[in-house]
Amino acid sequence: MSVVHAAPLLRLEGITRRFGNVTALDNVSFAVEAGEIHTLLGENGAGKSTLIKILGGIYQPDAGEIWSGEKRVELRQVSDADQLKIRLIHQELSLAPNLTVAENIFLGREPVRFGLLQRGEMNRQVEALLSRLGLTEIRDVTAVVSQLSTAHQQLVEIARALSQEARVLILDEPTSSLSESEVEALFTTLRQLKAQGVGIIYISHRMEEITRLSDRITVLRDGKTVGTARTGEIKPATLIEWMVGRDIKEHFPRPPYKPGEIALKVTGLSSACVHDVSFEVRYGEVLGLSGLVGAGRTELARALFGVDRIHAGTISIDGKIVSINGPRDALRQGLVLVPEDRKHQGLITEQSVAFNITLPWLKKWIHGLRFDDRGRNEIVARTIKGFDVRLSDPEQPMRDLSGGNQQKVLVGRWMEEPPKILILDEPTRGIDVGAREDLYRLIGKLVRQGMALILISSDLDEVLNISHQVGTFQAGRLTGVYPAEQITAAQIMQKLTGEEA
């Protein structure tokens, strides 16, 4: 298919999208041509997901224009994107695991005759589709999807997106769960599609993949387009600079570094997802852990807190080896984890703010059958004041608070009896800028008072500017620990993506 250089297949002009007072996308422009693989690159939170959700008709932009060829279009709902033949493949698999490959691909538009499913017809059509797409890796279309490898499931997902004609195909980190040979198979398919004139928008962190596969690269940072470049004409080092290169250190008040004794020492720790990890944290010190999503940082926290079983290694607190077989043991040893998923692991949303605050401290105000309401209210008041929680009434349900205030409750409630070691997993994810700065300030105060803090965050600026030491995590291993002042965001990014600049 010859590519006529007229208007691009799909063009975004000045797209802006706000959530509350956070601007996720700020005047972003971006285009994909027919027969082109165009990569979107950016840190977590740079706005990539918001952008593709706008292309999928899931979010609507607050300002800006979308052009399909010569025509201006509005993507008000998913079916609008569908009609323009924009096919979106999400990061998380969305297949029905109990159905077969063919059933999944035809889900919702199964061929029927007299109300009966034409299974043979369906299987034949899917086989034809797979061979047309070159997805010959999947041999049996009657195999149940849950029996396939993750990579093959990913291919089924792609086949489903392409079972209807596609003009634009969007893939969100499709290789995150694939092995090397599976990545090759995927790339072969993508190149075939490209040759057929499909425009492909590809989202990935992996520098090596991007430079090998894509024709053009656009970098997003903080919701803005930093630049677009042809792949052969830009150095990876420049790309990394584009991704991380801002200087906002003044927003992050790093607590002064006055390390005390060793609070926590971990030696050779292994669990199902963590391999041979050793490190130490001192009182009054912040250890930041950076890594790509799925690198094993959260799993390390879970192992330390006793949620996941430890296969090997030792944990020492204050120089003594401790055995932690569950969160209760960890709490007794003065170790607290505030988990990453507020809604599912942190909050009891239906209950009141006061209920959530006092839950760890029931012993302090319930004695047998006696409720010490004054003691309870004092704990609640102390937490609300100490952590600057903004609410109208402590008895209001937890779900009515903003994300930032919920997070302040989840961290602040532990300060009733401050732990020795505090692990915060993505503490600022999804909360607004104001609450974020409050949290930084409060965390800083705790560290100044001598608490040992482990900060897990995908926000490189945050890790780099709050922490005294920065550890890099890759594939379940702690690959290095560096003094924060002697390393730059670009250097960390290189270590995480495995690219030498």
């Binding site: 807190f305 949620v307 969160p327 209760r328 709490l331 984890l337 988990p339 599912h344 692991q345 942190g346 909050l347 009891i348 949303t349 239906e350 209950q351 209920f355 839950l359 760890p360 029931l362 012993k363 319930i366 047998g368 059958l369 006696r370 409720f371």
Partner: protein, 316 residues
């Protein structure tokens, strides 16, 4: 009180039902008839008290009806085996302990299986419903075991009247109601139950002993079913291995009509009492009004649907 205010619609429903049946049945509101009503709801209320805890933590216990039968047969079988023709308080206590012990074994098993394995409580308790029923049928070749006339204490449990007025089962029911209300609303354990039902994972991260709490909840439910079984057996004057069928469903109905959320985390003991009273009034009223039993089922089903629909809508 906040709890009472939430119950106003249900309390209003009770008054409306009472007045409605008063029109149909002129003797409906007489003190004797009302006392009779409280006696009739006692077994179901006690079952529902335990069921409330289980449903609050997001579980279910289908075995309580079979436990009623098992505890009855175990107790009466032991009693007639060791006590013979005379009444002996020590032997009676021993037999009751045997019955309640059997219930406790089942309850502990439910708790451990539900908290330590991935088996859903629905299936665990469905299986043990069959097992408990089978165990009950092992005694006396599956035939009823009559309670001897000399066992006046055991017979009084279901049929006696305190000071000649208040039925003993009602006294037991009210005592257990108060105990359970205190346990759920005035202890750490109660807070743990709400936390567990609201978000199990969050409760775990907060340091709540989730397994211990879950085992306790199922244990309490089974033991309360055992007490209900003792009363029911006494009321029948014999241990019937086939008794208690469908009791679990009436108990669940009382709990949900009383406003406890089926997904856990929300509900009160007081609500369950009100729910049990509503179902009891319907039962008795429809019966005394001479409504054909086929219609009784349909009306009760419709009322349960309506009550839960209104509750779900109110809490959205």
């Amino acid at each position: 009180m906040k709890v009472v205010r939430q119950m106003i619609p249900l309390l209003a429903a009770i008054i409306i039902l009472l007045l409605l049946f008063r029109i149909w049945v002129p003797t409906f509101l007489t003190p004797e008839n009302m006392l009779d009503l409280t006696q009739q709801i006692s077994v179901n209320t006690i079952l529902a008290l335990g069921m409330t805890l289980v449903i609050l933590i997001g579980g279910i216990d289908l075995s309580v009806g079979a436990i009623v039968a098992l505890v009855g047969t175990t107790t009466v079988y032991c009693l007639s085996a060791i006590s013979g023709d005379t009444q002996n308080v020590f032997y009676l206590l021993l037999s009751i302990l045997a019955g309640l012990g059997a219930a406790a074994v089942f309850g502990t098993f439910h708790g451990i299986a539900a908290s330590k394995t991935a088996m859903p409580p629905f299936i665990i308790t469905l299986a043990s419903m069959l097992i408990a029923r089978g165990c009950a049928l092992r005694f006396n070749n599956g035939l009823p075991i009559p309670i001897g006339d000399q066992q006046t204490i055991l017979l009084a449990v279901g049929n006696g009247r305190l000071f000649g007025v208040v039925p003993v089962p009602v006294v037991i029911m009210l005592t257990l109601f108060v105990l359970m209300a205190l346990l759920l609303h005035r202890t750490r354990f109660g807070q743990h139950v709400y936390a567990l039902g609201g978000n199990r994972e969050a409760a775990l991260y907060t340091g709540i002993p989730v397994i211990r709490v879950e085992v306790m909840v199922y244990l309490i439910c089974s033991v309360l079913a055992g007490v209900a079984g003792m009363i029911h057996t006494s009321q029948l004057y014999s241990a019937e291995p086939g008794s208690g069928e469908m009791f679990e469903l009436t108990a669940i109905a009382a709990v949900v009509v009383g406003g406890t959320s089926f997904t856990g985390g929300r509900g009160t003991i007081f609500g369950t009492l009100i729910g049990a009273v509503i179902i009891g009034i319907l039962d008795k009223g429809l019966n005394q009004a001479g409504i054909h039993y086929s219609l009784q089922y349909i009306v009760k089903g419709a009322v349960i649907l309506m009550a839960v629909y209104l509750d779900v809508r109110r809490n959205r």
